[in-house]
Amino acid sequence: MDESIRFLAAALAVGIAGLGTGWAQSRIGSAGAGAVAEKPEVTGTILILVALPETIVILGFVVAAMILFL
């Protein structure tokens, strides 16, 4: 039982963080697509901005790893 709860907790840590990242990226991505349409020279900038929220899921991953391995 304990083992299964640990796995569930790890999955939730990554899963919910992933949802948060996806939501943030969807907002940045749609705004970024508009910006790129008007100013193609900001494409590189937008790529990096879209990558910014991935920290959330990375932190979720770190938490999941701590739950599973520590």
């Binding site: 900038t45 790529l47 990096i48």
Partner: protein, 649 residues
């Protein structure tokens, strides 16, 4: 590193102002600065140059020559012609522009005729296609005088509209009409409407607003019997094509004869206009003219020598005291050739000046650090010998395919270093297209197996984060000293102390460190928090959380690497499932190709992000102004006075 700059004022007798500007322009080293009134002088003594209004005779000449250049086709003025024209006096230069007027008139007339002939040719062609499409039906049609005709083309899927038009036309003409329709091609149906000429206006109104492609018969063909229409249209179209070819040939001959000279003259006139503007923006009194700007420290003597040789000893070059903190000082990079490819990345975010941009003058250049760690990060994330070799092969192909392209000068060094790092880490982790090397060649990991060593790799990634964020804070302190920002120095030092203290406290709580160290760290953390509140307000302590978040963000080095190796394993497993070997190889190759593209793209974006957000934000001082020297067309062919894209000498 960033090029050392000097702020100079060139003071000359007013009558020699134009000569000074010419010499400065020819040298191509000075980044012009708007005139500032020297201390102790009133605007009544010095002011903006009133003698040279911004509009000059060169503006009008440039407009005419540029128009002609556009019509003859874009090109760069050849160096020898630019040399020849650059030294002409204003009168002779304007005479050159005037001499091209007959050519401009002829080219404008020919270009206008080319446009008319082109549209005529297209109109004849479309009607001819329509007539040819209806040729079988037209053969049965008697020649009827007094009847008008209109051709229409509709998309095949809307051909039903022809039946509707037939009904309305019969009603309009009392049945004295005919519609012939035939397919022109699989997508289009052509139809010709025949009706008494007196109802032509009503027919036009009937067709109006139906979104039909209406093909009007040229006026000279109105009333021509349909059986003769096709050949006559063909003859007319041939005549137009012949004339069009003649016009094109004459334009090509004019371009060959005058294009190079026109382009060179345009470049030289642009230089004259720029010089007039530079002189207009200079400071001027009754007797003196002052031209100011920045140039690389190593070129001040060159400027002095050039002015002394070409204008004379009456020109003074005054060097202002060095001001490292002046934010208007332009920035130019000066790095080893292989580092230059990374310079554009170091100012990648220029459009977002608030985020990170060109480093400020007087601060540290992040380029060498980026060149060292960016390829290493990409290599650590992808870490596969097979993928590294494939990237190397693709780069070799691209280099051969786009040899000489400026973009390859950037992509090649970055790509090669990233591929080398990918191969190196691939050897350490024993990955050759995932576990294929291990399975078929027995090439195991030299250091770690990424599939199993999850925790050690996580610790490695976060350790890299600690090292890089810590280094960033140390460099930030150095920058604060260089730019004399005391509060920034204290803030960054407090953040560094906080980071180290938190790590020690974690070690103490995990019983890896003695209690004394933990207690000292706790005290240091409290002091650092007080300093942060003092320097950055109540938001200061929150920055500590931000720094810790930055460190944890480096976990992506391991997480993305793990995703990459797992996708490679999936490719190998799926490739091994089919009994057909060829199918298995194709499946594996497709997934490996996907992993290769995703792996390098994602790891590049993430690697840059780690640098921009986590690393550079700790020390790069944004807001630098790009060094853009006042360069003439003489230097644009890149052979005499090379000017780097970043603006460096």
């Amino acid at each position: 590193m960033l090029v050392a700059m000097r702020r100079v004022d060139i003071v000359a007798p007013r009558r020699r102002g134009a000569d000074v500007v010419r010499v400065v322009h020819r040298l191509g080293a000075l980044h012009l600065a708007p005139f500032e009134l020297p201390e102790g002088l009133t605007p009544g003594v010095f002011g903006v140059n009133p003698a040279t209004p911004p509009g000059t005779p060169f503006d009008a000449a440039l407009e005419r020559v540029a128009d002609l250049g556009e019509l003859l086709g874009p090109r760069i003025g050849p160096g020898h012609l630019v040399d020849e024209l650059w030294d002409l006096d204003p009168v002779a230069l304007l005479r050159e522009a005037d001499a091209l007027e007959p050519v401009r008139a002829r080219v404008a007339a020919l270009t206008g005729e080319r446009v008319l002939l082109g549209s005529e040719e297209a109109r004849l062609g479309s009607y001819r296609r329509l007539v040819e499409g209806l040729s079988s039906a037209i053969g049965h049609l008697p020649s009827i005088r007094g009847y008008g005709s209109t051709g229409i083309v509709v998309h095949t899927r809307y051909r039903a509209v022809i039946g509707l038009i037939r009904d309305e036309l019969e009603e309009l003409t009392g049945g004295r009409c005919e519609i012939l329709a035939a397919e022109m091609d699989p997508d289009r149906v052509a139809a010709i409407l025949l009706y008494p000429a007196r109802v032509a206006e009503d027919v036009r109104a009937l067709l109006g607003g139906r979104d039909l492609e209406e093909v009007a018969l040229p006026e000279e063909f109105q009333g021509v019997p349909f059986d003769q229409l096709g050949p006559e249209l063909g003859q007319e179209q041939s005549r137009v094509q012949v004339r069009l070819a003649t016009v094109e040939a004459e334009l090509a001959a004019l371009s060959a004869a005058h294009g190079a000279r026109v382009a060179a003259l345009r470049d030289v006139l642009e230089d004259r206009v720029a010089e007039a503007r530079a002189l207009h923006d200079s400071g001027i009194s009754d007797h003196l003219v002052i031209l100011g700007g920045w140039l690389p420290a190593g070129r001040v003597a060159e400027l002095r020598d050039a002015l002394a040789a070409e204008v004379g000893p009456e020109v003074l070059v005054e060097e202002r005291p060095h001001q490292a903190r002046d934010p208007r000082t332009p920035v130019a990079f000066e790095n080893q050739p292989f580092l230059r490819a990374f310079e554009p990345l170091a100012s990648f975010f220029e459009p977002l000046a608030s985020f990170i941009s060109m480093p400020r003058y007087g601060s540290l250049d992040p380029t060498p650090l980026l060149a060292l760690t960016f390829p290493a990060f990409v290599g650590l994330m992808v870490a596969d010998v097979g993928y590294g070799l494939l990237l190397l092969g693709l780069l070799l192909w691209a280099r051969r395919r786009w040899r000489g392209e400026p973009l390859m000068g950037i992509v090649w060094p970055i790509g090669v270093l990233s591929a080398a790092a990918t191969i190196g880490f691939g050897v350490l982790f024993g990955e050759w297209f995932g576990d294929a090397g291990q399975q078929f060649l027995g090439l195991g990991p030299v250091w770690l197996d990424r599939r199993e060593a999850i925790v050690p790799l996580l610790v490695l990634a976060i350790s890299i984060g600690v090292a890089q964020v810590g280094l960033g804070l140390v460099l930030g302190m150095v920058n604060a000293v260089l730019l004399r920002h005391r509060s920034e120095l204290a803030r960054r030092a407090a953040l560094l102390v906080s980071l180290v203290a938190v790590l020690v406290i974690i070690g103490w709580l995990a019983r890896l460190m003695p209690a004394v160290a933990g207690q000292v760290a706790l005290a240091a953390l409290l002091v650092a928090l007080v300093v942060l509140v003092a320097t950055a307000g109540l938001a200061g302590p929150i920055e500590v959380v931000g720094v810790l978040g930055n460190v944890l963000s480096y976990a992506r080095l391991m997480a993305i690497g793990l995703a990459s190796v797992m996708l490679a394993l999936v490719a190998n497993r799926l490739g091994g499932l089919p009994e057909n070997v060829v199918l298995g190889v194709v499946v594996a190759a497709v997934i490996h190709a996907l992993n290769l593209v995703l792996g390098f793209f994602d790891s590049s974006v993430q690697g840059l992000r780690l640098h921009y957000v986590e690393f550079f934000s700790k020390f790069v001082e944004p807001g630098g102004v790009r060094y853009e020297p006042f360069v003439s067309a003489l230097a644009r062919d890149g052979t005499r006075l090379p000017v780097r894209p970043s603006g460096g000498p």
